[in-house]
């Protein structure tokens, strides 16, 4: 088993603390390692982007153990997370690896069709509303990391709607869902919509786990 990156000096009242969902993604990448190692990227240096990187454990893990040759971009709305990601990456990887942090919403400042690997552990918990972006001193940051609207899909749906334009040809996305998001229904809708646009995908559930009262799944999307 590959070691989990250490996080140091993080304020878990402002930065989402690695939990079952984060660890599930680490397990996914450990399982996917042989597949990813033999995958033919369009570039010798694949661009790996994690949306809503939080503490940075997932990105750091993937850079350290799975795609060491990649260029990594981490995005987060939360300025505390932007600093946390840099610290977590630096304290585990040092001067190796290539990670950059962008403070932004999802992938809005990225040029189209350049992401080779996209990772997203979304705010998937169903809630009445999605919280507004808070000011840096706010105490709502953890809600922003968690809450996703009535079926928990408000934010994830935005990412799915632009996924084809975000990924490069043969780019791969890993996105986490909980059972209350009705992932199978989401996939059926996604496939129908994308087929209408003439976009081809290979979609597979690569991980399934009961975590406390939640049932979590991770889905792999390959853009053809």
């Amino acid at each position: 088993m590959l070691p989990t990156p250490l996080t140091e000096d993080l304020d878990f009242e402002k930065v989402y603390e690695p939990a079952e969902d984060s660890f599930l993604l680490l397990d996914v990448f450990e399982k996917e390692k042989p597949w990813l190692e033999s995958y033919k990227w369009s570039s010798d240096v694949p661009l790996v982007v994690e949306i809503g990187t939080g503490s940075g454990v997932v990105t750091t893990f993937v850079n350290q153990h799975i795609i060491p040759q990649g260029l990594f971009l981490a995005t987060d709305l939360n300025p505390h997370c932007c600093n946390a990601v840099l610290n977590t990456h630096k304290s585990n990887i040092g001067k190796k690896g290539n990670l950059q942090v962008l403070q932004c919403d999802l992938t809005t400042p990225l040029k189209r069709n350049q992401v080779d690997v996209l990772i997203f552990n979304p705010p998937y918990v169903p809630s009445e509303t999605v919280p507004e972006i808070a000011d840096p001193d706010s105490e709502d940051w953890l809600d922003i990391a968690l809450l996703g609207g009535p079926t928990g899909m408000d934010i994830t749906q935005k990412v799915l709607d632009s996924l084809y334009d975000t990924l490069s040809r043969n780019g791969v996305a890993y996105i986490l869902f909980c059972a209350r998001n009705h992932p199978q229904k989401v996939m059926d809708n996604f496939k129908a919509k994308e087929a209408q646009r003439g976009n081809e995908w290979e979609i597979e559930c690569v991980q399934h786990r009961k975590a406390g009262w939640e049932v979590l799944t991770v889905w792999r999307f390959i853009r053809r």
């Binding site: 570039s43 010798d44 260029l71 190796k96 290539n98 932004c104 919403d105 400042p109 990225l110 189209r112």
Partner: protein, 129 residues
Amino acid sequence: MKFLTTNFVRCAIKSCDGAVNSFPLKYSEIELVQEEQDFQPEFILGILPRLDWPAVLKVAADLGNTSLPSQLPELDISDPSNEILLKDLHTLLIETQLVQGKMICENCNHVYHIKDSIPNFLLPPHLAN
């Protein structure tokens, strides 16, 4: 923010998506710091084909560096004479950090800020997508 990152980001406003002037952003009043990183020639060689070289030249010029070759030469890792250029590119792309300053979209004139090395692309609500 590493110099390299300037080659991957454009204006975050939806109506600027695809506009020629929204990439690269214009870099202004930039404070630079050199931060030492391990030299990985394979990484530099691997990243070069995916770079928009004219954008590299334009951002370098914003920062006062006009000494780059106008065309990217063919590089071969087994040729030792390439090592100097690869090291120079490593210094520019990986070790040059934009610590403070402004990033301006030349399509819509929106100004983004870099603070403590982190570029901020968050938009005020009326411009958010």
